[in-house]
C-alpha cells in the first residue's frame, strides 16, 4: 500500500517538475481551432428532416383523408382514440369554440390541432419525426401525408378528397394562425 502511495506521489511530482514552456500558456486564441470535420452532403441529408411553414423540407409523396384513415386506425387510434377525440393520449380533433381563442381566459376548452395549431406543416414534421410512440420515425411519406390529411379533415379544415402533398400542405390556412404573438415580457416592474 505504501509503495503504491509513493509511486503515485512520484508520478505527480514528476509531472509538476516536468512542466516547462509556461510562456506559451497565455497564447491568443485563434479565430478558429480547426476541430471537427467537414460534414458530408449525405450525412446532412440523412438527418435534415425538419419541415418549415413554407414547405421547405417536405418530401415527395401524397395522401388523402381516405388513405390516412386506414393508417390512423392501425397505428394511432390505440392512443388517440378512434376519432382522435377519445384518448387516452393527446386529443387531436376539435374546433370548439368556433369563435374566439379563449384558452387563456376559459379553462374549459382543450387545445387541439383544429383550434390551436397555427401551421399545418408542423403536423407533418412532428408525426414524421416522433410518431407513433412505439415506432418513431417509421412512417413512409405517403403514410404521413395521409395522416395529416385525415387530421385536417377530421378538424373540418379540408374535405376528405383533398390531396395533401408538398405543394398543397404549405397552403393550408389553419384556424389559429393569426393568434400567436411574440413575447413582450421585458423584466422590470411590469408584470405581463
Amino acid at each position: 500500500m505504501r509503495l503504491v502511495a509513493m509511486a503515485l506521489g512520484a508520478g505527480v511530482l514528476g509531472v509538476a517538475c516536468g512542466s516547462s514552456g509556461h510562456e506559451r500558456v497565455a497564447a491568443t486564441p485563434p479565430d478558429r481551432f480547426g476541430f471537427g470535420r467537414a460534414a458530408t452532403t449525405a450525412e446532412i441529408k440523412a438527418w435534415d428532416i425538419d419541415v418549415s411553414p413554407d414547405g421547405t423540407g417536405l418530401p415527395a409523396g401524397s395522401g388523402t383523408a381516405r388513405t390516412g384513415a386506414a393508417v390512423y386506425a392501425r397505428k394511432c387510434a390505440a392512443c388517440h382514440g378512434r376519432s382522435g377525440i377519445e384518448g387516452p393520449m393527446e386529443r387531436l380533433v376539435g374546433r370548439e369554440p368556433r369563435e374566439g381563442f379563449p384558452f387563456g381566459r376559459d379553462r374549459r376548452f382543450v387545445p387541439t390541432i383544429g383550434n390551436y395549431w397555427p401551421y399545418a406543416t408542423t403536423i407533418y414534421d412532428y408525426v414524421n419525426r416522433a410518431m407513433p410512440l412505439n415506432a418513431p420515425g417509421s412512417l413512409e411519406p405517403d403514410e404521413v401525408y395521409g395522416l395529416v390529411a385525415w387530421l385536417l379533415w377530421r378538424n373540418e379544415i379540408i374535405s376528405d378528397t383533398t390531396v395533401i402533398d408538398r405543394q398543397s400542405l404549405a397552403r393550408i390556412a389553419m384556424p389559429a394562425r393569426g393568434r400567436f404573438v411574440p413575447d413582450d415580457r421585458k423584466g422590470g416592474a411590469e408584470v405581463r
Partner: protein, 406 residues
C-alpha cells in the same frame, strides 16, 4: 446548518407518530443496522464509489413512464446545488442510450463550413463552467391551477434544479463554422426518440449558450442529455435540448410542435404568447412547508430558494402575516446570475396561526407577483410560467399546509 434533511425528517416522524400513522419516515432507518457505539467497532472499508448515508433517502417523485416528469425533492436539499441523481426530469420519449464514441453533433444550414463535432472535438475546445438553474416552464402548475393544502415544495416547484454545467460556449462553435450574414435562428434537435426540436435566436447562442457535457463535476447523467446537451441559462428548460445531435442555422424560426402547440402561453386577450423563453423571477419557502410539523413555538429558520432567468436575485422578502408586512431575508453567497439563490430568515413563532410567504426581486427590479396580479395578466387558463407568490399556512398545532391565498 440548522435544518438538515435528517432533522426535518425527525420533525416529520414526530408529527406522523403523533398522528398515529408511523409508516412514512421509518423505512430508511429500520433497514440499517447501526452499532450502539460506533467508536467501539471498526468502520466500513474504502470503496471506489461513495453512496448516501443509509439513513438518507431523498427521492424524486415520478409522474408518467417515458413521457412524464420527475420532480426534485426541494425540501430535502440544502444550499443551491442539486445532486445530479435528483435533478428533475422531463422527457418526451424516454431516455436514450447514446454511445459516446458514436456521438456526433452536426452544425449546418446558414454556415460557411457545415461541420461534424464528435465528443472528443467538443471537449478539446476551451471550456467554461457555470452554476445555473434549469427549470421547466410548466413548473408551479399546481400553485396556479391546481391549488390544494397537501402540496409539498417538491410537488409545487420540483421542476427546477441547479447544477454546475461544463461545456463549450456555442459562440465558439458558431465562430468555428462561420455563421452567414442574415442568420437569425437555429434549430436545436435532440437525438432521443422524440427527436425534439426548438428554434432558438442566434443571439442567445452568441450570448451565453453552452454545449454542455459536464454536470456537477462528472459527465452529464443520461437523464440530463448524455453525452451532450444544449444549455440556455435562464430560459425555459425545454429549449435546453438534451442529447443534442443537430443545429441548423436559418433566417427564421421553424415553428416546431414544441413552440406552437406546446410551450406557448394563451393570454386573456385571445392570443397566445410565443417564444416566451425567459423564466420570470420566482421563490419558494422550502422550510417550513407541508408535510413538516413544527413541534413547538420559538425560533425557527425560514429557508428557501429564489431565482430569475433575467439575472441575479437582488432581494427576497419574507412575510409571516400573509403579505401585510414584509422583511428582507438573508441571501446566502454565492448569489449568481440565473441561478438558485438560497435565502434564510430567522422567525420567532408565537404559536398563533401564520401565513408564510416569500417574494423575490431580480436585478431588473421585477417583483414576484401575487396570484391575483399574475392571473390578471395571463388569465386562469394559461399553460406555463407560473411564478406567483407561494404561501404556507402554519396552524396553531404546528402543522403546515400549502396556503390557498397569495
Amino acid at each position: 446548518m440548522n435544518h438538515t434533511p435528517i432533522s426535518r425528517r425527525a420533525l416529520l416522524a414526530r408529527a406522523v407518530g403523533a398522528a398515529g400513522a408511523a409508516v412514512l419516515s421509518r423505512s430508511g432507518v429500520a433497514q440499517t443496522p447501526a452499532p450502539s457505539d460506533p467508536t467501539k467497532v471498526p468502520g466500513r472499508p474504502l470503496s471506489d464509489l461513495g453512496q448516501r448515508a443509509a439513513f438518507e433517502r431523498p427521492r424524486r417523485v415520478v409522474a408518467g413512464i417515458d413521457q412524464g416528469i420527475s420532480l426534485t425533492p426541494l425540501q430535502d436539499l440544502s444550499g443551491i446545488i442539486t445532486p445530479a441523481d435528483l435533478h428533475y426530469e422531463r422527457h418526451h420519449a424516454g431516455v436514450p442510450t447514446i454511445d459516446p464514441h458514436r456521438y456526433k453533433l452536426l452544425v449546418h444550414g446558414m454556415v460557411e463550413r457545415p461541420t461534424v463535432f464528435d465528443l472528443e472535438a467538443l471537449r478539446r475546445f476551451p471550456s467554461v463552467s457555470r452554476i445555473a438553474f434549469l427549470e421547466c416552464s410548466g413548473n408551479g402548475f399546481s400553485a396556479y391551477r391546481d391549488v390544494k393544502p397537501e402540496l409539498t415544495p417538491q410537488l409545487i416547484d420540483g421542476l427546477t434544479s441547479t447544477s454546475e454545467w461544463t461545456g463549450v460556449p456555442l459562440a465558439t462553435l458558431f465562430r468555428e463554422v462561420g455563421i452567414k450574414p442574415g442568420a437569425k435562428w437555429f434549430l436545436a434537435e435532440g437525438g432521443d426518440a422524440a427527436v425534439l426540436t426548438r428554434s432558438i435566436p442566434t443571439e442567445k447562442g452568441w450570448d451565453d449558450a453552452l454545449i454542455a457535457y459536464g454536470q456537477n463535476g462528472e459527465a452529464l447523467r443520461p437523464e440530463q442529455g448524455y453525452p451532450a446537451r444544449l444549455f440556455l441559462p435562464g430560459w425555459e428548460g425545454n429549449t435546453s435540448v438534451k442529447w443534442i445531435r443537430r443545429i441548423e442555422v436559418a433566417d427564421r424560426p421553424f415553428m416546431t410542435r414544441e413552440e406552437t402547440s406546446k410551450y406557448t402561453d394563451p393570454l386573456p386577450n385571445d392570443t397566445a404568447r410565443q417564444f416566451s423563453f425567459v423564466m420570470d423571477s420566482k421563490s419558494i419557502i422550502t422550510f417550513p412547508a407541508y408535510p413538516v410539523t413544527l413541534p413547538d413555538k420559538g425560533w425557527w429558520e425560514i429557508s428557501g430558494l429564489a431565482w430569475s432567468g433575467r439575472g441575479r436575485i437582488t432581494r427576497v422578502e419574507v412575510s409571516s402575516d400573509g403579505g401585510a408586512t414584509w422583511r428582507p431575508a438573508n441571501l446566502q453567497e454565492p448569489v449568481l446570475s440565473k441561478c438558485h439563490t438560497r435565502f434564510r430568515s430567522l422567525w420567532h413563532w408565537d404559536g398563533r396561526e401564520a401565513l408564510l410567504m416569500s417574494r423575490a426581486v431580480d436585478e431588473t427590479s421585477y417583483v414576484q407577483p401575487t396570484l391575483d396580479v399574475l392571473r390578471k395578466a395571463r388569465g386562469p387558463g394559461t399553460f406555463y410560467h407560473f411564478n406567483n407568490i407561494r404561501s404556507w399556512r402554519v396552524r396553531r398545532d404546528g402543522t403546515v399546509v400549502f396556503g390557498l391565498e397569495g
